[in-house]
Symmetry: D2
Subunit: 344 residues, 4 copies
């Protein structure tokens, strides 16, 4: 199997390279760049010293010849333009951008402030939330890899939502992320002096991942109302925690939240449910593809608190992309991802 990566200068792209260059079914991993073709990859990323890989320019016909599956880790709008060309050439595409995750072009336009992709392309795209959409992914030609916040949040909410166990207008998601989620582009917002020893909140109820989360939730329970969602920037590089609050319906009869979640994720090798009273920390999934979930019920308020953590660059981006690649191509789901988190 030969694979290619477009958009390799960012953190998502370089993590795909790290995973695929050692993947046992990947014969060759070619990286493409419009801006830096010809350059040695390890000049941009010295941790790859010795990989001796040169960036190639983006030539659609050449790529068709080169690769079987193409990963797009590109800025907004690029995938909308590029991916149709590969789909018609029978190159499978796994897209890490937000371009093709929303089925409604109206919603996309509202939240992303740009034109949506054509409807047929949106229809072609399978939303690659592996644990939930496993079957569609197996036959997908085009996979829209989920966003980082949606991955953590939706895996945290899926079992209770499908069981219609909570009041549909009670969802509050207080999300936290490490800085690598903002990408490698230099800006005041990623300047060490502004981030270190600091805690910021941003995009209060305005994050473009909100409609992506709501799209899946309403697919699972059409009565789900708009959610409250805010994101915090944590002075760390990797990791996302979604702290999720929902109020149980009075008639909900849940003996064991833990067992409910364990049953739902029984066949999911990357979801780990913590014992009641124990909560996952982001470092406990650092460098891995795991999503760890902790649960608490408070009888003073009738609310459940769900704590869901992932490594934003892995389960929230490159790792889930490789997991999708495995499912799509019939490999064992854990291939190339079967390692414990790096701790401490």
């Amino acid at each position: 199997m030969r694979v290619g990566i477009v958009g390799s200068t960012g953190y998502g792209g370089v993590e795909i390279y790290r995973l695929l260059s050692k993947h046992k079914y990947v014969e060759e991993c070619i990286i493409y760049s419009s801006s830096e073709s010809g350059k040695l990859y390890e000049e941009s990323y010295p941790h790859l010293t010795g990989s001796h890989t040169h960036l190639k320019s983006i030539d659609v016909d050449q790529i068709e010849n080169d690769v079987d599956v193409l990963f797009l880790a590109t800025p907004p709008g690029v995938s909308t333009k590029l991916s149709p060309q590969f789909i018609e050439r029978s190159v499978k595409v796994i897209d890490l951008s937000g371009d093709l995750r929303l089925k409604s072009s109206h919603t996309y336009k509202n939240w992303y402030k740009r034109e949506a992709a054509p409807a047929d392309l949106l229809n072609e795209a399978v939303y690659g939330l592996c644990e939930v959409n496993h079957d569609q992914i197996q036959s997908a030609k085009f996979i829209a890899n989920p966003g980082c916040f949606p991955t953590a949040t939706l895996l945290g909410l899926a079992p209770l939502t499908k069981a219609k166990a909570y009041k549909e207008d009670s969802i509050i998601v207080d999300a936290k992320t490490g800085v690598s989620g903002a990408g490698r582009k230099a800006s005041l917002a990623t300047h060490f002096g502004e981030i270190n020893e600091n805690l910021k909140i941003y995009k209060v109820n305005e994050h473009q991942h909100i409609p992506e989360i709501e799209q899946s939730l309403t697919e699972w329970n059409q009565d789900v109302a708009p959610i409250t969602f805010s994101t915090h920037l944590i002075p760390m590089t990797r990791g996302i925690m979604s702290t999720i609050y929902v109020t149980l319906k009075k008639e909900s009869q849940i003996n064991s939240l833990k067992e409910m979640y364990e049953a739902y994720y029984e066949k999911s090798p990357f979801v780990r449910i913590r014992p009641i009273g124990s909560y996952p920390a982001t470092k406990e999934v650092f460098g891995s593809n795991y999503c760890d979930i902790g649960l608490a019920y408070d009888d003073r308020t009738g609310r459940v608190t769900i704590v869901s953590v992932i490594d934003n660059l892995l389960k929230g981006a490159a790792g889930q992309a490789v997991q999708n690649f495995n499912i799509q191509n019939g490999y064992e789901e854990i291939t190339g991802l079967d390692s414990y988190p790096v701790y401490p």
Copy 2:
């Protein structure tokens, strides 16, 4: 004015010393320690090199002779024992522990898992939330300095609560703190290798600051129901952010959240309300006594998101203690606290 500090080995105590040793109405600042009497303070805290202050042992009669006001920054239970002796000797006490903040001994016992202080002592104590209880503080002999989370949370909620503007059962507080809140005692929970590049949640609905918050809220609006409250450990040293979610009542007619808050805090030099669309970050109050508040209303959900930040060791402990000292003793409220945050 001569002042004393008991419990100077902790981070709260050393910050009181830093502030009071340069306070223009403080002639002498004496520090007392049971465990390290005789020792030079700067051996424990080399940043104070040159202060040449020795720790004195705790002798109640001697302290009565030495000081006019005594600050207690002591572990749980110590203040309950020590403070009555000073009150009967007419030494004013400002207590930073949680011993005397709760008026109900039953509630104290439930949450602190230890016996409460005698009822007369609890009655004597004035809850030193400066911006709200300013008048009682002026005549207080015994001040219970608020906890760090309650300070940030209550200042964030006071105006809306007193206006009875939100549904009383809708309060969710997602709190975040730097590590210094856990004190200087070494433990696995404060080990750098466990905290750095990590984000943890702890004490979900079990934090002892919950009843302290609820006590003031119900004082302001007796219909307030139990709150949902969780705390997160952020890989930074100082700073607290309370992200607070409430659902407005349908009949609430609030034209401008910002103006409402500005009016409420008009005479409060340490509360700064941010422009709508702008939210405070913890570093923007680092090293200062400010509490900065940002506000957002989401018409999709009818919820208000309140963001309240403080430096946990200053407005959340030592700074507010000095502010209480100023109010109690008739000094200008900002004396010794009139400095901007240290940024970056």
Copy 3:
């Protein structure tokens, strides 16, 4: 006294503002900006919320009317152009850039890769290393405020150098700095994802502070040979440590390094010499104007290790600038700087 700051958008400038806006002899502190005139300062720096200060445009005549002393915290080359205009208008200038620190225009050109200032301007400038050049500073109209690395390094080396106690070709300086030294400008080099949990070395034997250090050293002992100097970027915001290694001459008879240093800095309120066996950490001077020095002699090798720490934005920039301002204008040296470090 009215003061002005040009270059207030950087970290050095904002720290000067923090110090001078609360300085008891400063009536007004005006800030000037070419790029952002008219803007409210606290929009760029929300920690100053409530200061209500607007940036003014740079108009030389207006500035002459406005201020008595002008601080320049400007990029390379700006001071060379601006300062002559103020000197001829009898506005005192304290310049934080590197433009006028080197007396040799040839050396400047070699290391800074740009044209040096005119010779008469270079001659006018007094090198503002307060502890050593105190007397010249008192009568200086133009002060070249020292660089951050030179301040830490020269204060660490001054006593031993003036005593000619070490082999002149044995100086090795292994310097370490926090990220704020690189300024507020966004770049990959200051990106959180590249700095956090990382340790980098840069400018090995190529740093432009090398000739500045050598200039003072050879002034104190003309036999001093070129030094070895490297700088490391530490994942922290503030703080510099210079670890300095020199080999004592065989005939050196130094009974007590500590007493030697204490005697030399007897009248220097901001230099603190640590007890033998104890070494300063950068956090122990954080937020203060102190320079703390520790010393060790190793009889296995005949070498002395000198550890000198400062807060790079204070004693290494804004703090020393205010100290120079105090000396220059006849105020007590510690005015506006008399606070302990903020710890932890």
Copy 4:
């Protein structure tokens, strides 16, 4: 192949487990603990959730039955007592402690302040610096895995030392380490509030790794004189950088430092030499077994600056232990270690 780990509660032990539990030639990886036998390992290390491994008590006979190779990641003195029992039982031992690295019991006693191991045990132990002692390791029954600072420092110095290219009394090593090197034990020295946003120097010329470094250096060139060595604590979890300064002999004729080093490490898969003018950062080896080396020569001073970085828990501990295991047992040297660093 069955392997065991004694001392699994520390950071070194848990990293050995992470590597060996996925090692393709390791059938079973058993972990032993004196203090926590019976406990589920993932209770101490939740990042291993799902590994379902219980700690077993330390019973020498049982261990003999259980395992072929035993890793000791134990506190000082334990290995001296335990390892002889395994050696006589023909269990191969790889010891990560400092107990058996020094051949001279006199030197050990001087620096470690405790009794050395018996002479025959010291003689049996092969010093496991893989790149240099590859051949002895192949036939070793007992391997003393090198310390973290010695690994980085010796790999940085080996080629120049063996070539006798520098003045033997000119070695200065300015070492820097992340906090995980201090182990998982809670202490004030590892408290987040004391380490974060701080830079400390410690053990100036007193570190117990000094004789370990000198032992190899003098083995390679008997004229090498005592070194100057100091260690700095960096506010990060993992990573060591040794910045090494040596003065070249006048007669040294080195055309290309880079080629000299590349030739020396030609067959070493984990040593990467950087291009001249480029220096490695610790994060560029994070989570990997690489040692990256950068080199600079300064003709102003005649000195070479060598920059050598490793991940202290991998190449400086667990990774090199597994590398030794591979060499010792005839596996390809990179087995189980063949992954790129995790970046960012």
